[in-house]
Assembly symmetry: C2
Homo-oligomer: 484 residues x 2
Amino acid sequence: MTAVSPTPTAPARLLEELGRILGPTGVLTAARDMDPFCTDWRNLYHGRACAVLRPADTHELSAVVRLCAAHGVPMVPQGGNTSMVGGATPDDSGREIVICMSRMNRIRGIDPHEMTMEVEAGVPLKVAQDAAREAGMMLPLSISSEGSAQMGGILATNAGGNNTVRYGNARELLLGLEAVLPDGEVFHGLRRLRKDNTGYALRQLFVGSEGTLGFITRAIIQLQPAPKEVEVALCAVEDAQGALALFSAFRALDPALIQAFEYMSGTGMALVNELIAGASLPLEQPAPAYVLVELATPRPGTDLRAFMEGVLADAMEKGIVTDAVMAESETQRANLWKLREEHAEAQKRAGASVKNDVSVPVARVPELIARATQACMDLIPGIRPAPFGHLGDGNIHFNVVQPVDMPADAFLARSHDIMDAVADIVRDLDGSFSAEHGVGQLKPYMMAEWRGGAELATMRRIKEALDPHGLMNPGKIFPPAAPR
Amino acid sequence: MTAVSPTPTAPARLLEELGRILGPTGVLTAARDMDPFCTDWRNLYHGRACAVLRPADTHELSAVVRLCAAHGVPMVPQGGNTSMVGGATPDDSGREIVICMSRMNRIRGIDPHEMTMEVEAGVPLKVAQDAAREAGMMLPLSISSEGSAQMGGILATNAGGNNTVRYGNARELLLGLEAVLPDGEVFHGLRRLRKDNTGYALRQLFVGSEGTLGFITRAIIQLQPAPKEVEVALCAVEDAQGALALFSAFRALDPALIQAFEYMSGTGMALVNELIAGASLPLEQPAPAYVLVELATPRPGTDLRAFMEGVLADAMEKGIVTDAVMAESETQRANLWKLREEHAEAQKRAGASVKNDVSVPVARVPELIARATQACMDLIPGIRPAPFGHLGDGNIHFNVVQPVDMPADAFLARSHDIMDAVADIVRDLDGSFSAEHGVGQLKPYMMAEWRGGAELATMRRIKEALDPHGLMNPGKIFPPAAPR
């Protein structure tokens, strides 16, 4: 995989040729210009690059990839630089070239008859969402980094988020794809077909390959009709078992209505209440755990509110839900969502924390939360587990905040103990060590243990077949190969 | 790809070793026993095999695949033998071994909390559907061969059918997968995770690979809650444009309600009316075209009937629909569906016909139908184009029936002219030459023109990486490679 490239070349001549293709503004080489592209936003990785390229279209990208491949120079695709796992940051060798997709940022069309949108890779998700909304439709993918994250990266990492429970991850929204392969060839798959059984599922393979198989350049996305009725409720529950029971109740009645189903711990909610200006719990008293549920339908006049009230009343009668409030206005709805969305920020303000983006089968979420909470508390007295996230997908962000009276450094020195303790439980529950954040350069060391044997071997064979010189985003996903 | 296997071996010793693994009933070698496995049900291909193997579990399959691989013997996976494109039939060399999955036919569990079902490859779709129904849920995949077609083949070919418009193809229903790779290694991917971003999308790749990358042995399928209200209507429309307008009206209001949306031509309906016992059009007079629409919801008490009546009344007012009837009972519902389901049988009784399983973007279906109908009529006077199928997916079975007064042979001699005429229009409309039937051995010759360049080259690289000796289902999907 990481076979040394055939003809390593000093970059001087290469840079000159790249400049001829991209023009003077398309090639950055000054350290201060390149810095923002060489550090990830979580500040976990500080790499170096021999250049940052900014192609304006597929044609330019194809030409520079061909050139880099000929010179044996490794390439790191970068979108909005919002990876949680260092997936778009170069290593510190200074040999890699970062190729930034931001200039390929046109929405190329919205087709109201097909309900599709064609975007270039560099379009920020928020821009695409807004364009869909202006056209009377919805792009049903929402993540906290949506203002910066770009569609190419969204697809390359198979991003998830709040609406996955209803509409799936990025992969499920994709109809067509154009990509530049590691040798510069262009894969033309910009089709708008819902059915097309003509060979291997290449576009599904590119989605989630984290830039290791090539550059996603354009995509056709399936849109949905805009919701006509939306209802949001915040519910107090005794524990995650109660949250799951509520989810099952909504799902049995109509999974298509559940636009989001988010779990929050009492600990996390208390931190939001305490540390975030303008956040306040609209319930009479704090609870051990909470659910934020959003229902939506594009069909007008179904009295979604009465439906939600009915389900909640029934759940309260059964003791599943102990208290609940439904938003009465757009403002109240935003306030309820704020309680969920400020979880990460509140935890940051509470001190050092350790993040685990894990998933388990949905019905095992209560066991995950109970066991991992206990395991963390056994490990470090006073530790504050504050799990939250997408219960409807079995995807919990099992974050833990340092004890109040412990120095941050001392806490962070235990990071790996905490991560290992959570991971052990996730494995025991047949879960995944990365639900939606991907592998990047943070987690390749986990691949051999979790996805080893024939699975990792097959992935390596595909990687070697499509990128025989290992030039595409080296060091991401794959652990270093064992010597043969 | 089709590199000659390393050590061609006379089968005698191999057969002996296979017998030791599978027992006497697990290896068929008599011609009369093998015959049913060597001919496809459409009677298009008559192959030969040196043996038919019937492993009972993954362990046995893995052992025999390892053995066949060591002996360089090509393997043809076979499920219910219902391929429309000869995808499970051996060639006529007599060198290939057919491996039949029928004995691996256990439903290994239904999890009501996860709403999942774990099946072995040999479970017939109908059996799996019934098991889901008995557990109060629905397996939302329905095709005409469901009584025979097996889950392994369903997944290997990414089968579609009537409910794709709502729930997607087989690929969208799959949560986890176990497969035996071309070298006999087992890929253990039987996970039940809705989110799992840990490397390449191998299970999506296996789905639709038509047995060319290995054997699907077990799968975990996402189920849905059973519908509580179902409404079926047959609508008369002026043409496919009217059918599309009606689809758009339903979709804009609530795509999640549309469980099926089927187009039928007036010609096809007349043949059903005339040639199928018990079929009769429940409208006052015949129309140029028809739509069968089925709405369903798992949510009780939504008055789905009133909703459907409202949409149809509005469509009639606008002149989109000229007449309509809604089923009043289960029997009437079955009778309406019979009009759609007997299309293939009626066409068979009407004489020779040519089938085209094509797809285009949904909004282009009317243009496809108008242009292809005209093109066929220009080609052969008196020809009877009878397109029908899944308008909601853009997937039309563009079948054409011979003229009344033409000898069948003379008509069939023009098959390729007809297929080419339809294909030219499909290409012009950015469509696909195989929407849901796959490529098999019937259509590899079309791959180079339709999916050529970097796309086919990338598929070939994956095939060569995972099956370097070309032992898995040779001659399927890929056209013979051009000499290098």
